[in-house]
């Protein structure tokens, strides 16, 4: 899938994969790839600046923790991150429903 069209939704997708549990960077990227059925075609390195930006915004909180015997920077969703995710989800559902209604089925 086109990486530019995905980039606009990257923040919401990151928040979504962190909804259930805190994850470190590689696990976040693996979760994005798994949930997108492998269609997420972004240079994985570009996810890290997005994580830092979401942290600066207060939507994520990071800490160093032990993951499989290695020290990793782990991110978890903050209260404001959960709120933003809920809003983005509703927006997306309304948008996709509207586009679906207009395009209809072939």
């Amino acid at each position: 899938m086109n990486s530019e069209s995905l980039r606009g939704h990257l923040d919401a997708m990151i928040l979504a994969v962190l909804e259930d549990e805190p994850l470190h960077g590689y696990a976040i990227i693996e979760a994005l790839a798994r949930r997108s059925g492998g269609q997420l075609d972004l240079p994985t390195g570009t996810v890290y600046p997005a994580l830092r930006r979401l942290e600066a915004a207060g939507h994520l909180v990071s800490s160093w923790s032990e993951v499989s015997g290695r020290r990793r920077r782990t991110y978890k969703l903050s209260r404001s991150g959960r709120k933003v995710l809920a809003g983005k989800r509703s927006e997306w559902q309304a948008f996709s429903r509207m586009v679906g209604d207009v395009l209809g089925t072939a």
Binding site: T46, P49, R53, A56
Partner: protein, 206 residues
């Protein structure tokens, strides 16, 4: 660490300019990712070298990834500069409240005095806006290098104006007394020089 990963990280490091602590932490996270991704590919049967090559390829070329990392560094540097300026300005009222009561009565001095107060307030508001824009402001828009550049240029310009006003007022107040010059140097000129240095470093990251 494989040679390929080490080479990639070294190239990425060479391409980045900015606060050392943030740069190290970004590079460490990139290194951790490459290590995890390599281990993941080794687990599914690739040899170490092929796994590292795949991990590096998926991470993105330095040309693709470095601009994103550099934006993080620029915004972080701009935020630090703005917080430094806020700290410098926050102590000013306490310093100048203790100023000797004998100040010149001339019109020019009064104009400069008002100018310093207005400029100080504007700088305070500016620094606060930049610090917020580079932090929590990311909730509403993505703070990028243009915000960092504006923050750095604003800090340099207003700092220079503050220094000129301070020196002019001290000259007009006249006299060879040491105290006004010591106050000016200690609480205006040196702090302004410090924030200007930080602002120049921020400009280099943009």
């Amino acid at each position: 660490m494989s040679d390929l990963r080490a080479e990639y990280l070294a190239s990425l490091e060479d391409a980045l300019v900015g606060p050392r602590r943030v740069r190290r932490s970004l590079l460490r996270e990139a290194g951790d990712h490459l290590e995890d991704a390599t281990a993941g590919y080794v687990e599914v049967g690739l040899d170490e070298e092929a796994a590292a090559a795949r991990a590096v390829e998926e991470f993105g070329s330095v040309e693709e990834v470095a601009p994103h990392f550099q934006t993080t560094l620029a915004v972080s540097s701009a935020r630090r500069t703005a917080l430094l300026l806020l700290t410098v300005l926050a102590v000013q009222p306490f310093v100048w409240d203790g100023e000797p009561a004998a100040t010149p009565e001339g019109l020019l001095y009064r104009v400069l005095d008002t100018g310093v107060e207005v400029l100080g307030l504007l700088m305070l508001a500016f620094a606060l806006v930049v610090a917020l824009a580079c932090g929590i402001g990311n909730r509403w828009f993505h703070a990028g290098r243009s915000v960092a550049r504006v923050g750095a240029l604003g800090t340099l310009g207003s700092g220079a104006a503050l220094a000129v006003l301070g020196v002019s007022m001290t000259i007009i107040a006249g006299g060879p007394q040491l105290q006004p010059w010591a106050l000016l140097t200690g609480f205006i000129l040196l702090p302004v020089a410090g924030t200007s240095l930080a602002a120049r470093r921020t400009l280099a990251t943009c």
